[in-house]
Amino acid sequence: MPYSPMLVRPMREELAAAGFEELMTADQVNRLLDEKQGTTLVVVNSVCGCAAGMARPGARLAIQQTPRPDRLATVFAGQDMEATAQARARFGPIPPSSPSMALFKDGELVWFLPRHRIEGRDALAVAADLKAAFAAHCVPVAVAG
C-alpha cells in the first residue's frame, strides 16, 4: 500500500525544487526517454530513509556544476506505479531497486547506480559517483568570454 501523499510530499519536493521533472505516467516517461539527443538523468525516488535520505541530497549536489545532464527527471517508487514500471522497463535487464539512478545518453542507458551502491554512504559520496558519470557522458557547457 502506498504511503500517504502527505508523508511523501517533502520527498518529492526535495527533487522537484532542484529542477527534476516529476514523471507520473508511462506516457510521460516514454516522451522523455524517447528523446534521442542529449542526456537525461532519471532518479527513482523512494520513501526509504536507509538510502533515499542520501540519494536525494546527493543528486542535488551533483547537478550544481557542469557537466550535468540536459534533462532531469524523477519517478517515485511505490507511489507513481505506472511511471516507475515504465522507467524500469527502459532500464533493460537491471533488477528494480529504489532509490536508484539511471543516466541516458542519446536514448540509451549508459550508467546506473543501484540502491546498494547508495546504502550507507553520504550525500557527498553519492554526488561524487554522479559527477564522475556526468564527466564521462555529459557535454560541458561552454563558458562565454
Binding site: 526535495e14 520513501v47 526509504c48 530513509g49 533515499a52 533488477p95 543501484p114 540502491r115 547508495i118 550507507g120
Partner: protein, 93 residues
C-alpha cells in the same frame, strides 16, 4: 528526510549477501536479524547444482548483483540462524 526504523538490526534496509553452510547464496534487503535467523526482503538465491541456477556460476551471480542488484524473486525469506555462515554488505563487495 525519510522513514527510519530504529528498533531494527543495524543492517535493516541494507542489501546483503548471505553465505550459508549449504549450497545456497542469498542476496536481498535485510529486514531484521534475530535469534531465528536473517529475514530478507526482495531476495534472490543461487544454489549450486540447482537447475534454476544452471548456466550461471556462483561468481557470475554475485558479480551481476554487485553491479546491478538482485532480482526480487522472494518477497520475504527467513534464513535459519544455524545455516548462516557469513553476512556481507553487497555494496562493499
Amino acid at each position: 528526510m525519510g522513514t527510519f526504523h530504529d528498533n531494527m538490526h543495524e543492517l535493516h534496509g541494507i542489501t546483503v549477501v548471505v553465505e550459508t553452510t549449504g549450497p545456497e547464496l542469498f542476496i536481498g534487503r535485510c529486514h531484521d536479524i534475530d535469534a531465528s535467523g536473517v529475514i530478507l526482503r526482495d531476495a534472490d538465491v543461487h544454489r549450486e547444482g540447482d537447475p534454476e541456477s544452471a548456466g550461471i556460476s556462483r561468481s557470475e551471480f554475485l558479480d551481476h548483483a554487485r553491479r546491478y542488484g538482485a532480482w526480487p524473486k522472494m518477497k520475504r525469506h527467513l534464513i535459519p540462524a544455524d545455516s548462516v555462515r557469513e553476512i556481507r554488505r553487497l555494496g562493499e563487495i
